[in-house]
Symmetry: D2
Subunit: 352 residues, 4 copies
């Protein structure tokens, strides 16, 4: 089979270099173009020395990159870039995977409120699919445009899906109106930007919450929770910055419904994810650690019910740059092109 021709728009950030790491080792993909307005002509390996000898490609300015000759284009760009180019690429038969937020929210008002810009192509948005594979696998297979989920949403949605799916009209398992997600992210989650608060000297040996009064991932989580639930959902979401490079740990709290006290929640999760290649429900009593998924596309989940009481605690870990971004994007590509879902994603996590 001919290899898929892949273009990357905006490959200078962390999701960009991670796409390059994964795609350069992918058996069915061929990197054909990578754009950067600023770094036109610079070999990719000059910016990211881990790619020396592995990726023999230079950044090119968007006008020279001939993206319309690709089979698929990944956008590893700031919000707003993908939607500006989507129609032209689709017209040329190119599929799109956006790692930013342009195709994550179907609610236009919410998009405009949180991203401070009008949406450039509501039609494309409507046909786009939210690329959380474990929830939307079949739709993704047929999609031309995929909005790759945010890092926090991936963990919270997969941590809550077994509890909420289809439950709005059935007997509830948990109180969907008082959910809490206390999430901790490594610093790469903030991107590769020259900003003071993510300097080593500021973020090291330090821990803090941020965005408590509002974070862009909150509406994204709620919209998709409501879709899978089939009804309204109330969520308190508190993200925290953790002094580690990669990794995300979400601690999710849900009140068990009085009628669901006899449910075996461990089994519920195990059954829900039994066939998922990238979701590992750990044995009862486990406490997953972020390094157990470092540099891999796995997500690991543990379910706790302290004192056998009414409070369920779900622990979810992922690598924010892999399953939380670039790995999930490749997983989406695999589905969109009929490849084995795990093609190029078999890496064992790097521990220690």
């Amino acid at each position: 089979m001919a290899k898929i021709k892949v273009g990357i728009v905006g490959g200078t950030g962390y999701t960009g270099v991670e796409l390059l790491r994964l795609l350069s080792q992918h058996p069915n993909a061929e990197l054909t173009a990578i754009t950067s307005r600023k770094e036109d002509g610079m070999p990719v390996a000059d910016m990211y020395s881990n790619l020396r000898g592995k990726v023999d490609l230079a950044f090119s300015s968007p006008d020279k990159a001939r993206l319309t000759e690709c089979d698929v284009v990944f956008f590893a760009t700031p919000h707003g870039v993908a939607m500006a180019q989507a129609q032209e690429l689709l017209a040329a038969g190119v599929k799109i995977i956006d790692l930013a937020a342009d195709f994550r929210l179907q609610d236009l008002a919410s998009f405009e409120k949180w991203y401070k810009m009008p949406h450039a192509c509501p039609d494309v948005l409507r046909e786009s699919v939210y690329g959380l594979v474990e929830l939307n696998r079949e739709k993704i297979r047929g999609a031309r445009v995929v909005g790759n989920p945010g890092c926090y949403p991936t963990t919270v949605l997969l941590g809550l899906a077994p509890l909420l799916e289809g439950r709005a009209k059935a007997s509830p398992l948990v109180d969907a109106s008082t959910l809490i997600a206390d999430c901790k992210s490594g610093v790469t989650g903030a991107g590769r930007k020259a900003e003071l608060h993510i300097l080593f000297s500021e973020a090291s040996d330090n821990f803090k919450a941020y965005g408590v009064s509002g974070h862009r991932h909150h509406p994204e989580i709620v919209e998709h929770l409501q879709t899978l639930h089939g009804g309204p959902v109330g969520l308190t979401f508190v993200p925290h910055l953790t002094p580690m490079v990669r990794g995300m740990h979400s601690t999710i709290y849900a009140r068990i419904d009085p009628k669901a006290r006899d449910v075996d929640f461990q089994k519920l999760f195990e059954q829900r994810y039994a066939d998922e290649p990238f979701v590992d429900v750990m044995p009862a009593g486990s406490t997953p650690e972020t390094r157990s998924v470092r540099a891999s596309n796995m997500i690991r989940i543990a379910v706790h019910r302290p004192g056998n009481g009414d409070q369920l605690v779900v622990l979810v870990v992922q690598d924010n740059l892999v399953k939380g971004a670039s790995g999930q994007a490749v997983q989406n590509m695999n589905l969109m092109f009929g490849l084995p879902e795990d093609a190029g994603l078999g890496q064992v996590a790097v521990l220690p």
Copy 2:
């Protein structure tokens, strides 16, 4: 005024060296003895090179240490040591501050369950005072024996006190039965022990929960929450290990009672702690960071109510070795001996 003669039992751990750092700079204290069974004769500064030229004392074995000549003895030991020596010291007129758990729980059954040993001196326990100054200041002034609080309990109790104090019989502010404390600790919280899971190579660039199904600080928090509340309290407590040396961040969730929706919670906290020298209620919207209290006895608190909804989020930071252990112990000593409460505790936090 003559300086207080201070003895330290078991000074080789982190709370021990932190006591030495604080007491060696204390204007009214004189270090007269420090014991270690293993390190008899070794100069303290040979073990902790930061003390070179500052502390001119050697460890001595307990039998040589003449602790009964001290005015006060700090126990920076494993659980069970202080209660074995308490009666002899009290008989000699020596006051006791225990940094372990021997005098933290009045509930004997709970103590025996969690610490796997019978209590050696229930009488002394009964007269002892729980050394959380902001809750028990007056009792501490008159105490002969103080049980210095655990690190997690200090943050959770101070983060919830304004919401619960005396509310069992008054109009409630929050639902006391569904409280959640999601707590993150630096690795020194695990002590100075040769154990694999706290190696640099295991704990660095990594994040995980632990003790989800049960942690010794849970009964301690609940007992004292119930005391201040005046009634039953339900708490879910999930501690996490964070890759930093010092620091603790507790994110506390409480459901606002429907009748309390108009309460100004920011003001409530500000008023409660207005006169407290070591509690800083930060301006509305703040997200305190652990380094802002590093190596100092301060605790900083911020109160959030996301979306002006029914969920209150209280953020609390402290240095787990200072306000969470040795600094609080010195604060207790100051009160027990009629000194200014902040004597020797004026250090500005070390940032960056």
Copy 3:
């Protein structure tokens, strides 16, 4: 081709888990046995959660492991274990790769001095080959027993080889009697042992030298430097402990011989390593960083001559657990079994 049957003795340390990570992804290797006296029966993935779903093997006690049925056995054990079992395995036709020091030093007196034990099988030692591929490739192809190099020696030997090889009897390039290697290692270099000085709380945000008066890798480096040089060599070696998990950076100083002032050292290094798949000589002026080789088998080298003076400065980085240990061991296996040298070692380094 049938896969090579691989056994690992002592797989519970960091070199063990790293062998498992690499070999479980190796196209020509089949893990058939892994021994641990303590953990008999425990699934490997229960100890190392990154291997869940990837390695379906349990530790077995040495007596049950049937190592004589393997094609090759790796020893990821303390010093002294491999030499005790070498003769039996060789008799059964099993090849041996020892990641400890049993087959690194031909000088028996030096071995006994530094490792405090007599050598159990000098005959096997004599036929063994020092597994630094870039120096001994042809010998390794025919070897039955390989002593896998220490982490520091790998960087220092490769950093100095182009300057010293065969120079004892030719015109010297540098003064071989005043070499200096100032080396910095991540904490995994100290292994997975419950020891105080490598606790997170001790090693984090901290930097120090160690072993200045003598380190086991010093005689190993000198012996092999002398072999490649063909004459005596004087080396000052100062290792340092750096607060990072993986990675090693060696800064090597050599005085240029007055007659060699016109040599193009950049070119010398480029030519020496032009055909080496795992040695990357970076462009003049580069400063390689350890993360550029994280979790990969690459070594990167840069050559500097500050102010165009008489002092040469060679910078070398590697991942101490890969090229410095387990990756190099797999590279040796590949050669010993006629496989492509880079089989199973194509991973792109993980950055960031």
Copy 4:
């Protein structure tokens, strides 16, 4: 005695906040002004939350700050600022301590080459004193203008002073022409600037050299080495970036002169620094660690002679923000105003 009125120009960087930490606890200093062009009106404690409740001062723009009413002004600014304001302040009787490089190099050509600007006041430069107390104590007492040393120079100069002082015309102890300083700095050494290479995600779990072909501290070290030596000095200087917040470790190599083989170098260092309050020569065989001086003004030195050979290895640690910057500046102030040299500098290092 009236307190000294202190102004700080440019207090938003790390040396600025460190000056604030030290001076706010200084018994003889009163902070009266702190300038920042950008942050005019902002309370200092809003930028640095560790100062909440400790420093009740706001940044003011330079024109409002009335610096001429101060007794002393510290410049914690980029290079070039102090020399532009020096003459006006001196005319008003204000003393100056510059933490940048304006008054570190007497060699004007060297200053212009390395700092890319002409010197604005060569006359002031000529009367200024290089503020390395242990070398220039008496001159500093009488100085109106002090150039506070760079962080690297402080360690290298103090590490070499006992070996070189006055030796150009006496029997040499070491070869002054082949000195090597291999230095490792924590990331705060790079300042508080929004730059990519010092992001947490770039600098964490990573190690690299930089400035190998030339660093501004090289001419500063050489100029002052030559002054104390009384003759020419050759130094190779390689700085490295280490993943820690604070701390500097310099490993210094010097070849022992054949005639000096019987010198007791341990004793030489001990005698040289016997009366120095901030220099601790550790016992023979020690390996000082950076955390042993964290947040304190101490410098610790150990002297090694591996294998009793001809290579001397001197290990020096300091906190780059204290003895390497702001602490040393306060030490200079104490001397310039006739205060006890250690006033306000008695802090015990924070360990762990």
